[in-house]
Amino acid sequence: MRKILQLALLVLGWLVILGGFLWAPLGKGFLGHSSRILFFHVPMAWASFIAFIAAGVWSVRYLIGRDEEHDRSAAVAVELGLLFGVLATVTGAMWARTMWGAFWNWDPRQVSIAFALLFYAAYLALRSSIPDEEARRRLTASYAVLGLAIAPFLFFIAPRMVPTSLHPEPVINAQGKPAMESRMLMVLIGGFVWATALFFWLHDLGRRCARVVARREAPPLPVE
């Protein structure tokens, strides 16, 4: 079953890339082929958001049950959220260079994702700065729970509060409808599924690696 799912992810990735480059039409109002980056940039930002929310949920579960596995899951989710967030920022900057003439324009969307990345980078800094394991888990979990309010605000609310943004209209427009051609939408939805599945696979790998490392570093049980 695992192999079938992995193979499906490989094929889905190829389909999204092929669809994005060959099948989907060019976006109206975009320079050249710059709209094609949308199929990779938006799913990366989505996976980043999913990761930060998942980190918050696992942190709540840790605070309730004090299960180390939930703490590890939260930490891995934050690391992956940062990875996807950086990829979203870099692809967005590449697009901005073509459309706006500069990689960084202090657009509300660029600033809000930069704040989100700094917020979660601070999570990792906090995690590495507390030597006591129990205190570290408790404090970082509380911090990630705070992120449950911060992440939706920075990803969805803050960029919409500034009317001067040059960023294109979101996928779902103000009327609650997807504002793009149907083939573009299909490739984009495929991209969302691909990025989400990739996040969960990477998360599973990261969590299992962390568990193996924790077992190896644990002091040996006393011999009777």
Partner: protein, 38 residues
Amino acid sequence: METGTLTWVLAVNLVIWAGIFLFLVRLDRKVRELEKKS
């Protein structure tokens, strides 16, 4: 962008994704072996 350039970018993207995928599959296998040992 010329069609030839677009095809190159497409091919590079396909190969990069295949490479990442193979790396992850191998990593998955290695982690499973380590889990069995520990």
